[in-house]
Amino acid sequence: MTAIDIARQHILEPSGLGEDELGNVLSTLLGSAIDSGDLYFQLSRHEGWSLEDGTVKGASYNIERGVGVRAMSGDKTGFAYSDDIVLPALMDASIAARAIARGTSSSQLAAWGGRPGHALYLPDSPLESLSEQAKVELLQQVDAEARRQDPRITQVMVSLSGLHEVVLVASSDGTLAADVRPLVRLNVAVIAEANGRREQGSAGGGGRTGYQLFFEEGLALRYAREAARQALLNLEAVDAPAGYMTVVLGPGWPGVLLHEAIGHGLEGDFNRKGTSAFSGRMGERVANPGVTVVDDGTLAGRRGSLNIDDEGTPTQCTILIEDGILTGYMQDKLNARLMKTKSTGNGRRESYAHLPMPRMTNTYMLAGEYDPQEIIASVDKGFYAVNFGGGQVDITSGKFVFSASEAYLIEKGRITRPVKGATLVGNGPDVLTRVSMVGNDLKLDEGVGTCGKDGQSVPVGVGQPTLKVGGLTVGGTGS
């Protein structure tokens, strides 16, 4: 069954709706000086299992269902939503949403069409990919593996979650598209204790697939060992240094640097409004030659990937920075229309109850030529960060932070002592001009990222090879 068949069966038919009714609702929406409008139907089922003290203490299950109705007139947007998917509620929401515009002109509803989406994941429900008993056993195995690493591991918390989401988009531009999206995630957090000192470590991952992912090559057990290793390492860590210094970032998740420093600043809405530190800089050099950064929603099974975005546009690979030159913004339909360009398939929303906006998918830097060992060896004194928590950016000033959770000192070209976590701060528009070496070890993250913008959370991915940044401020307490 195709995604559109599944959406018809699970969303439209139980509500007695078909293409004709959707057309009628959109016609109502287009009534008064509205350029375009769309309906976003969503049905999602989510489950979460959590373990602590060696046993599964709780489990939760959530069903969400609703429809969002959007009307656009110039740069104005009207929006209403309903968790009741019935024709009268849709009509009410349409009348509320179209109140954004006053006037008499009207647009025509286009014939149904639209480009087909990708097939980056299977439509099967992850929730049913494993029996309840097997989910419980998986959590217990992860717990045992983490505890087995060292008697100093005193606490282990494991969580497993699965999401199965069916979405259908009907737009006045003729788009009629659906997507069935699985998403799984496993996380392990441990606490290690020795000599009155306690430290934490965590690891995890996931993607758009079923729970079987966690059994492939013992992935779940690897997360357990990794969380334990980090916590034990942190028991030995000394205070991080403070000040401006050379920083080497490891491959994979440290790509959160790109997400914060570059990615948000290149989202279409901020640039249309001229509120981004990157506004009006298209075609300018923002990074050293050799630095290429893309946003790619088409990677099979990745957490940030989508067959279509939440406006029904197939996702794509957009080159943001090519060989150091700023080449592209990420767009949704509204901002693309106002900037006289095309959507790049980055229109995303948290749910039917939220408005879409330009958001990242999987954002990463392509590999360079250096051996990672060679990069470390080139640093006389510096900070080597291999794992991070989250980050944040002030779009307008361009200042961003990201917080290291595993880091080391580099002294005379060698990795020496582990240091405590610290926040790193920099300036987005020029940090990539200080990237002097790009490793040949491109890696994507394990599938853990969630991005927040205007109060809306969406799953994303990041990645990068090992990078040497000539100068960043490290916010430790040591000398």
Binding site: E47, W49, E52, T55, V56, K57, G58, A59, S60, Y61, N62, I63, R65, K76, T77, G78, F79, A80, Y81, S82, D83, A93, A96, A97, A99, I100, E132, Q155, I191, E193, R198, E199, Q200, A240, A242, G243, T275, A277, A353, L355, G389, G391, Q392, D394, T396, S397, K399, F400, V401, S403, G421, A422, T423, L424, V425, T473, V474, G475, G476, T477
Partner: protein, 457 residues
């Protein structure tokens, strides 16, 4: 028999659109009955229905108009001491039945946990005062647009360095929440939350800065005027222009009231039951011990009329009550739900879901007085990032603010971090200002800390 219950739920589902409190209570009771029918030994249910409107105007015209209408039912069932939870936004009968069924199904796979279960019956709230939380605002879209335009216009007219805007937003929200459990407790109340905010972009020498201000209240007549919100947003934006970096140094730091709140948030995180029973807090076993200097007094006042954090009972129906958390600098107790309390061998403090109106008593000086008392150091007005570790107390966050010398603000600063350990930071608070920010659930004046590491150039 089972079938007729489902039909009754369906009938209730139809009436909910009218937002009648009694209908929601009836629905809660029926969900509990359904849980019992499906084999739950005890159960609890939470129903919330919110509706509202928010409007943003930007550059003198309306930009977005959003109608909000959210509803949700969350049920937790216990099969003796096994626990399962389930929730839905879909109040139709079939979905509610599926929700209860899912909670019971997954509960069978969870382990027995002697600490799990409803709160002890004698802790449930019995009667409560009207907390004056419900003030519906008859604000239509046209009026909201006018207010937002007025607010933004006031801001943009103040200084020619205000070159752009992220807009002004007016929002009204009214929510109803019902909590019921199989002790026979049923509590319901309504609360409103109205706000007005403005975010602006300033520009000087090719560099842009953004800042904002907001006013929030249960009662819309207590909101600051659009002109005042716009003016403060403009002043805060313009004063950041020309920001420089700082050299790496040790310096005293004042957290302006709006960000000082976050320090108290970290304190609450570290004395919360979940962190304590997991041994994941740097304040484990600190009850009865000094955590702050002896002049610091921190208390919880859940019953302040009309306040943003007021609540008659917590998320489990346990009575909330006023109490001291810190007296003369000494930690008086923890922040506990019934589960975390049982894990620690203690009793619930009525804090399932968090604290209600946490207040640190103000000192005698305003912000100007704190600046004089600091003489030379950093005034932090904005913090970004998540570099706070509750297990160890290690603290390292991005900051922006002002460099202060001779008790006077010298120039704005940015692209710096401030770092320390919360244990030391709490112990070395030198003063709390009387410039209390009452907009949130945590009320604090500006806080002066003796010394932190500032990292910059």
């Amino acid at each position: 028999m089972f079938h007729s219950a489902v039909v009754a739920l369906a009938m209730l589902g139809l009436q909910i659109t009218r937002l009648e409190l009694d209908d929601l209570k009836g629905l809660a009771v029926q969900v509990l009955e359904e849980a019992k029918r499906q084999g739950a030994t005890s159960a609890e249910v939470d129903i919330s229905v919110d509706s509202g409107l928010s409007v943003t105007a930007r550059l003198g015209d309306v930009e977005t108009l959003e109608h909000h209408k959210d509803q949700g039912v969350a049920v937790t069932v216990y099969l003796d001491t096994r626990k399962g939870s389930s929730s839905t936004s879909d109040l139709r009968a079939a979905s509610l039945k599926e929700t209860v069924c899912a909670a019971c199904r997954i509960a069978r796979y969870t382990a027995e946990d002697p600490c799990a279960g409803l709160p002890d019956a004698e802790l449930m709230a019995r009667d409560w005062p009207d907390l004056d939380l419900d003030h519906p605002w008859a604000l239509d879209a046209e009026q909201a647009i006018d207010i937002a335009i007025e607010c933004e216009a006031a801001a943009r007219g103040l200084d020619k360095r205000i070159t752009n805007s992220d807009g002004a937003t007016v929002s009204r929200l009214r929510g109803t929440s019902v909590y019921a459990n199989s002790h026979g407790f049923i509590g319901a109340y309504r609360a409103t939350r109205h706000s007005l905010s403005c975010a602006l972009i300033g520009q000087q020498n090719g560099h842009m800065q953004r800042d904002y201000w907001y006013s929030v209240a249960r009662d819309n007549t207590l909101l600051d005027s659009p002109a005042m919100v716009g003016r403060i947003a403009a002043e805060r934006t313009v004063r950041r222009l020309g920001a420089r970096r700082l050299g790496t140094c040790q310096a005293p730091v004042i957290f302006e009231a709006g960000v000082a709140r976050s320090l108290l948030g970290h304190f609450i995180g570290a004395i919360s039951g979940g962190a304590l029973y997991r041994k994941a807090s740097f304040l484990m076993n600190h009850a009865g011990r000094p955590v702050f200097p002896s002049f610091v007094h921190i208390h919880e006042q859940p019953h302040i009329k009309g306040a943003m954090g007021s609540a008659p009972f917590d998320d489990e129906g346990v009575a909330t009550k006023a109490r001291d958390l810190v007296a003369d600098g000494v930690l008086q107790g923890y922040v506990l739900s019934s589960y975390s309390a049982r894990r620690l061998g203690l009793q619930s403090t009525g804090n399932a879901g968090g604290v209600h109106n946490l207040i640190i008593d103000p000192g005698e000086h305003d912000l100007g007085g704190l600046l004089k008392s600091m003489d030379t150091g950093l005034l932090v007005t904005e913090l970004i990032g998540h570099g706070v570790n509750t297990v160890t107390g290690d603290y390292s966050r991005g900051a922006a603010g002002f460099w202060v010398k001779g008790g006077e603000i010298q120039y704005p600063v940015e692209e710096i971090t401030i770092a320390g350990n919360l244990r030391d930071m709490f112990r070395h608070i030198q003063a709390v200002g009387n410039d209390v920010d009452k907009r949130g659930n945590i009320r604090s004046g500006s806080i002066l800390i003796e010394r932190m590491t500032v990292a910059g150039e």
